[in-house]
Symmetry: C2
Subunit: 110 residues, 2 copies
């Protein structure tokens, strides 16, 4: 996704995976991303997970109203409950407001 | 690290690794983390990198002054220049202010 504008909301999800049900986890992670993308004010998602099971997922939202609606979405709540029951040993959620952003891409030759 | 307090600054670094010099990269990533931890106002760091080379690193800072001092730190600048020259195909930096945070840990039996 392009960089979020100032005032956008970052919902930062840090998590440690349990050893349980890797296939079910992959399906749920996909369902979660699809559910987020259907919400008003969704800007995009970035995600990485280490080989040791520590992951960071950041969903980006247009404003606080959109981030709150995502927190309270029933599809989100259902998958979150499964996550606590099965897939995660721990997680942390940090909500932050974007101040500024920039980027760099390697110039191509020719 | 414990969750950052409201008003703390998240410096979110999203990156795509080039195929170059994985050993040198690991040493530089360690040097970068050490340099950050020596800065005033450093709160901690969280990091994850996918098998496909996409990584997310978030450094947490007490306030904007600390985040700016890190941006302008000469050790940081030198390693950043190496990153552009060698290790990354692209990166994005998003600076955001923490609004709220919470966490969950699986209860242990007994």
């Amino acid at each position: 996704m392009p960089n979020p504008p100032p005032g956008a909301i970052a919902v930062i999800f840090l998590s440690g995976r349990s050893a349980a049900d890797p296939q079910g986890y992959g399906q749920a992670a996909e369902a979660m991303a699809d559910a987020a993308a259907r919400m008003p004010g969704y800007l995009g998602i970035d995600s990485a997970r280490d080989a040791d099971g520590v992951g960071i997922t950041i969903s980006w939202w247009q404003d606080e109203t959109a981030a709150i609606a995502w927190r309270d979405d029933p599809d989100h709540a259902r998958i979150r409950d499964q996550g606590r029951a099965i897939w995660y040993d721990w997680y942390r959620v940090i909500v932050a407001t974007v101040d500024r952003a920039y980027g760099w891409t390697r110039p191509t030759d020719g």
